[in-house]
Structures are given as structure tokens and as C-alpha cells.
């Protein structure tokens, strides 16, 4: 053990034992970020803040929530909303936070795609991010069920039913997931465990890993520019702050993030206090009734695009039923973003607007996802069904075409040079 001298200050006392000075340097004051970034790079900090909101509000909800099919609905809608002091505030922060966190995740994710931040060297950042997205999806889905409202119940019913389409083990898998032959109290209790323990633990691990994955390849920048971080950091430390291409995480990068956070919080609290209904389906204020199906069943907005890919296939093609095709497309849609770094075969790291073919691909993909999202909520009848099918097919085609488009683009760029 090292020799410990009497410390002159509290900081020194901690520094001797925990190396806090070095830790602060590594994590904050000498963690270098490129200077040419815009506010889209603040989404990571927004997500961290939102996740914290969700954890804290979730802990308060946990004090009064009852994970029991007979008590859950009233514990949320009466005890928490009306009896507990400011219980409504925690519920609204939790519900609105859960919805808005997905909006920010999507912005974060498409920022990454737009600027090519998933490319060579940054694959682990991208993959860990996509795993986080999947974990958040599971977290959102398991939490949505807990109030035991009509839409919670039927959403859980429909989503667990999807697993029934898996060959051979499907039917048994559904029973295993539900813990019963139908969505019942057993389903509620296990989803409760997943929502408050297992998945949050995995998410925290995922966040730590996602941050760590940034360390070596560093954060990308607005121009996809490559430069020597150590060299630029030396410039900064020597006092040439204006010419250095990097800034430290604290206080420079964070001062901008905190401003973006401030603007975001105005929007967030407006939703929490005055427009929370967008995150709470009115049907969910009816208690779950396994004997009465709602007129339309749809998931929360952030799952609509993949839900539409699932149900867009409503007729048989080449002897395969629409249901099976939908399930395959759904599996494809949920896994394909994970392999983005290998689908994009152009080595050039540049924002989409500077890439001759990719820019069309990118905006087409965004437009397609918006169409899928909007039609995912509408009843799948008449022309809606065909739009849904067209958009689902477009989604698949876009991703199948991506390697060819980017390969051609790489050839074109090389030819110019």
C-alpha cells in the first residue's frame, strides 16, 4: 500500500485514496471533444438527463405502485394520481419522459447516420448504441403494460403473440413469456420485474459501455474530419485555444449542452404539465378487460414504424403467408440498423449532404420511416393497407440496396481523386 500523508484539504484526502484529480481529468477536463459540432451532439447529454428523470420518477412511482392485476390500475390512477402528494407529477414526468426519450434517441441515431458516425473505428459506439435502443424498447414495452389499462393489456397481448410466429417453438415461447396461456397477472408481475430491475440494470451497463466505446475513436464531428486529438489537445493546453480543434468536455462542451438542455426542458415541462395526453392513450384510462377488444390496437408512437413493417404484409407471396412475411420483415427491420457499419461500404466519413448518392438514400429512409409511423396508427384497411405494404417493401429495398449504393459512391469519389 502506498504511503499516506496527512492531507491538507478534503480534495487531497480523497485524491490520495481515489485519485479524484486524475479521474476528473480523464472524465471531464481532459476528455477532448471536437470543436466543430452542432447542437445535435448534445443529444447524448439530454438522454443521460432523461434517463435520470426516468429513474428518479420511477423510484417514487415504485413506492406506491402495486404489481397485481387487481390493484395495478387503481394504484396508478387513484393512489398515485390523486392521493400521493405530487404523485401525478412523477407519473407525468415518467410517462412523458418515456415518450420523449425515444424522440431524442431517434434524433441521436439519425444524427449518427447522417454524419457517418458509425463508420470504421466507431463500430462499437454504434453497436452499443443500437443495443441500448433495443434495451430501451424492451424497457418501454414492459413499462407500458404496468398501469394495466385496456391498451396496455392488448398491446402486450399482440406483441407477445408475435413470438408465436417463430417456427417450431413459437407457441410454447408465447406461453413461457406470458407465464400463462393468456396475458394475466403472471405476465404483469414478470414484466414488472423486467421493467424495474433486469432491464434498467442492463441499460446502465449499456450506457457505461457506450461512453467507454467513445474513448478511443473519439466523437465524430460535423465535417467527418480526421485529426490528431493529442496534438490538438497539446495546443489547447498550451493556451492556443482559438486554433485548437478540440475542446475539453468540462466546461466548454458541457456549457453548450447545458444551454441545449435548458431549451429542451422548456419543451419537456410544457408537455408534462399541459400536454401530457399525447403520451397517455385515452383507452389506457379504461381498466384492462380481456374479454373486450378495443376498436383499434396500436403501440406507442415510437414503435409504430416497426409495427407497420410487421403488419404491412397482408397477403400471401410465393406460398408464404402474409403473417410470416411480416414477421420476417419485422425481424429484419429490428436487426438491420445494427449492421449499418458493414452495409455502408464507402470508407469516406462525411455528412450525407456531401455524399453524392447517400444523401438521397438518407432522406428517402427518413421519409419512409415517417410514412410507416403515420400509417402504423391508422386502421390497416383499403388504401392504407397498400401504403403500409409499399412503405414496408421500400424499407427492405432501401437497406438491401445500401451496400451497392455506397460501393458505387466509393468508386465515384475515388475516380475523382
Amino acid at each position: 500500500m502506498a504511503e499516506f500523508k496527512k492531507a491538507d484539504s478534503m480534495l487531497e484526502w480523497f485524491d490520495q485514496r481515489l485519485g479524484v484529480v486524475n479521474f476528473a481529468k480523464v472524465m471531464m477536463t481532459e476528455y477532448w471533444i471536437p470543436k466543430n459540432i452542432n447542437f445535435l451532439w448534445a443529444m447524448g447529454v439530454l438522454l443521460t438527463v432523461l434517463f435520470t428523470f426516468l429513474v428518479v420518477s420511477g423510484i417514487f412511482l415504485l413506492m406506491y405502485y402495486k404489481p397485481d392485476a387487481n390493484m395495478a390500475f387503481d394504484s396508478v390512477n387513484y393512489t398515485i394520481m390523486q392521493e400521493v402528494a405530487y404523485g401525478w407529477l412523477f407519473r407525468h414526468i415518467h410517462a412523458v419522459g418515456a415518450s420523449v426519450v425515444f424522440l431524442i434517441i431517434y434524433i441521436h441515431m439519425f444524427t449518427g447516420i447522417y454524419y457517418g458516425s458509425y463508420k470504421k473505428g466507431r463500430e462499437m459506439i454504434w453497436i452499443s448504441g443500437m443495443i441500448l435502443f433495443m434495451l430501451f424498447s424492451a424497457e418501454g414495452f414492459s413499462g407500458y403494460m404496468l398501469p394495466w389499462g385496456q391498451m396496455s393489456y392488448w398491446a402486450a397481448y399482440v406483441i407477445t403473440e408475435i413470438f408465436g410466429g417463430i417456427p417450431v417453438i413459437g407457441d410454447e415461447l408465447v406461453v413461457w413469456i406470458r407465464g400463462n396461456f393468456y396475458v394475466a397477472d403472471s405476465t404483469l408481475t414478470r414484466f414488472f420485474m423486467l421493467h424495474v430491475l433486469l432491464i434498467p440494470l442492463a441499460i446502465i451497463g449499456g450506457i457505461v459501455f457506450h461512453f467507454y466505446a467513445l474513448r478511443f475513436p473519439h466523437v465524430n464531428n460535423e465535417q467527418g474530419e480526421f485529426f490528431d486529438f493529442d496534438e490538438e489537445a497539446e495546443k489547447y493546453k498550451a493556451g492556443d485555444k482559438k486554433h485548437s480543434k478540440v475542446i475539453p468536455f468540462w466546461p466548454v462542451f458541457l456549457s453548450k449542452d447545458v444551454f441545449v438542455l435548458g431549451v429542451f426542458l422548456i419543451f419537456f415541462f410544457y408537455l408534462v404539465f399541459f400536454h401530457y395526453s399525447f403520451a397517455m392513450d385515452p383507452i389506457n384510462f379504461d381498466k384492462a378487460d380481456g374479454l373486450k377488444t378495443p376498436a383499434h390496437i396500436y403501440p406507442e408512437w415510437y414503435f409504430l414504424w416497426s409495427y407497420e413493417v410487421l403488419r404491412g404484409w397482408f397477403f400471401e407471396i410465393a406460398g408464404i403467408s402474409g403473417k410470416d412475411l411480416g414477421l420476417m420483415a419485422f425481424g429484419f427491420a429490428n436487426a438491420i440498423f445494427l449492421v449499418m457499419p458493414w452495409l455502408d461500404r464507402s470508407p469516406v466519413v462525411k455528412p450525407a449532404n456531401q455524399r453524392p448518392y447517400f444523401k438521397y438514400w438518407f432522406w428517402l429512409m427518413i421519409a419512409d420511416l415517417m410514412v410507416l409511423t403515420e400509417f402504423g396508427k391508422l386502421p390497416p384497411t383499403g388504401p392504407n393497407a397498400w401504403v403500409g405494404f409499399g412503405a414496408s417493401l421500400t424499407f427492405l429495398v432501401l437497406f438491401i440496396a445500401l451496400p451497392f449504393i455506397t460501393k458505387a459512391e466509393a468508386g465515384k469519389v475515388k475516380g475523382k481523386k
Binding site: 434524433i107 466546461p251 456549457s255 444551454f259 385515452p282 384510462f285 396508427k377 386502421p379
Partner: protein, 292 residues
């Protein structure tokens, strides 16, 4: 400037998506229906412009109504306990103390003349179904007599204060025979098994209906349930616009009791966020002036 452009693109994309999944999807799933009509002009069997005679009305009510209906307000208590009354009629007959206040005059007069038609429940009570509505039609009464009864009921109706207690009494008179409101400790006066038998299904608990259905939907629904839920056993209630507002006020007081707190606190929290954002901007400017 460039960041503003990015923000504008972002806001546009989010706005379009939001429009599609909220207002637009809502308009597709809940097509507009005829607006609520509080004049009840579709039933015109009684000339409701006739001036009623309260004295004669009192005589007619005592001869025709109090055998089944309680009128606590005029000193006529219920003849039997709720359970027995429900067993006899299928549903507890309403106490008429407030009838003259909460029901529209046109509606009430035509209800007395022919309850099934006024309530829009002909699909349930008709010769083919063999079901008879518990209250007989008084279509043998002259329009003048009917208006006398209406005038009498109006004359005895109590004034109700515009507060929670008043709203509660309106809710109980208008909805409380069939519907419970668990979160307010209100249980339907007709016992659960009997009301189920009478209506064909248990009428829903209304604790959260102000949220699950919303005022906009209920506005049309109470006024004419058949427009929104064809074939439902729920009768057209015939409330005046004012009585309906009192019902909504009570449903909101029970189902969304923290609304006032939410809205007043919201202003402060948003104000705080604005100040926070301004200070953050000034701090950011100061810090970044060194690196640009």
C-alpha cells in the same frame, strides 16, 4: 445560423410526424358526428309552449307518479328500499326532486308522453323484442296536463350551489342510478346484478371517464348515445346544457382532481426553465468566447 436551419428541419420533421399520429389519426378513428343538440326538437308530441299550472301539476303528480317515484323534496319518500324497487322495476325509479331542474323542458314533457322514443331506446323496447320499458307512456294525458306536471316538477326542484356538493348532486341525479364512481365512493343505486340484468351489461364505472372519453366525446354521447355507440342500452339522458356541465365538472373533480395544482405549478416550472436556459446561454457565450 446553420444550427437554426438544422433546428428548423428537425422541428418540421417532428411536426409532420406528430400531426399524422395525433390529430390526423384521431380524426380518422373518431369521425366527426352531429353536434350535441340541447333543444330536443326531434320529439314534438307535446306543445311545450303551453303555460303549465303548478297546482294542477301537483294533483296529477300525486295521482300518477308517486306510486313508483320518490320525490324527497316534496315530502314523498321512496316506497321501498332500492333493492326491492330494482327487483320490481328492473332499475330503481329515479327520485323526481331534481327532474325539473336537470332535464330539458321539451325532453321531459316528451319523455312523460313516450319515454322510449324520447330516450332513443326503441331498438331495445319494441313489440318484436317483447320487452317493455318499466315506465308506461302517458300519451293519454293531454298536452296541457303534461305541461302542468312539468311546471310542478320545475317549481319544486331545489337550487343547487355551484360547488363540488352541487355538482355531485347533479351527477347522482343524472347518472347515479346505473353508474358507479369508485374514486368518489359512489355506488350505483340499482344493485349491480340487477342493473346488469336490466341493461344487458354492467354500466361502466365513471371514475376515469373524463380522461378515457374526454369532455368532447361525452358532450355528444350523453346528448345522444346512439350516434356514437349504435345499439347501446344507454338512454339519451336529456340533460340541459347547464346540468351536463355540472356533471362534467364533477367527473373532473373526481377523475382529475389535481388539474388546478398541475396548471398553476406548470407555469412556475416553465418560467424556471426559461430563466435556466437564459443563464445557461450567457454562461455558454462567456466560455465559448475563449475558444472561437
Amino acid at each position: 445560423m446553420k444550427e437554426f436551419k438544422i433546428l428548423a428541419v428537425l422541428v418540421a420533421l417532428v411536426g409532420i410526424t406528430y400531426y399524422g399520429i395525433e390529430p390526423y389519426a384521431h380524426s380518422v378513428m373518431h369521425p366527426a358526428v352531429a353536434p350535441a343538440d340541447f333543444t330536443f326538437q326531434d320529439v314534438k308530441n307535446v306543445d311545450t309552449s303551453l303555460a303549465g299550472n303548478v297546482e294542477n301539476g301537483k294533483v296529477l303528480v300525486e295521482a300518477n307518479c308517486i306510486a313508483c317515484h320518490a320525490i324527497e323534496n316534496a315530502g314523498h319518500p321512496a316506497m321501498m328500499p332500492n333493492a326491492d324497487a330494482a327487483a320490481s322495476y328492473g332499475v330503481v325509479p329515479p327520485d323526481l326532486s331534481q327532474a325539473g331542474r336537470i332535464y330539458d323542458k321539451n325532453y321531459l314533457a316528451n319523455f312523460i308522453f313516450d319515454p322510449v322514443t324520447a330516450m332513443h331506446v326503441q331498438h331495445k323496447y319494441n313489440p318484436e323484442s317483447g320487452k317493455a320499458f318499466p315506465m308506461p307512456s302517458y300519451n293519454w294525458m293531454s298536452p296541457q296536463d303534461i305541461m302542468d306536471v312539468v311546471s310542478y316538477l320545475q317549481s319544486i326542484a331545489p337550487k343547487v350551489a355551484d360547488n363540488v356538493e352541487g355538482h355531485k348532486s347533479t351527477f347522482e341525479a343524472a347518472c347515479g342510478r346505473c353508474h358507479s364512481m369508485k374514486y368518489a365512493g359512489i355506488e350505483a343505486s340499482t344493485p349491480a346484478n340487477m342493473i346488469k340484468e336490466h341493461m344487458g351489461a354492467t354500466p361502466p364505472d365513471l371514475s376515469q371517464y373524463i380522461k378515457s372519453r374526454g369532455e368532447h366525446y361525452l358532450h355528444s354521447f350523453i346528448n345522444d348515445p346512439q350516434i356514437l355507440l349504435k345499439g347501446t342500452s344507454m338512454p339519451r339522458v336529456g340533460l340541459t346544457e347547464k346540468a351536463q356541465e355540472e356533471v362534467f365538472a364533477y367527473m373532473e373533480e373526481v377523475g382529475d382532481s389535481k388539474k388546478a395544482e398541475r396548471e398553476s405549478l406548470g407555469v412556475w416550472v416553465i418560467l424556471y426553465s426559461i430563466i435556466f436556459a437564459i443563464l445557461a446561454y450567457l454562461w455558454k457565450r462567456k466560455i465559448w468566447s475563449e475558444v472561437h
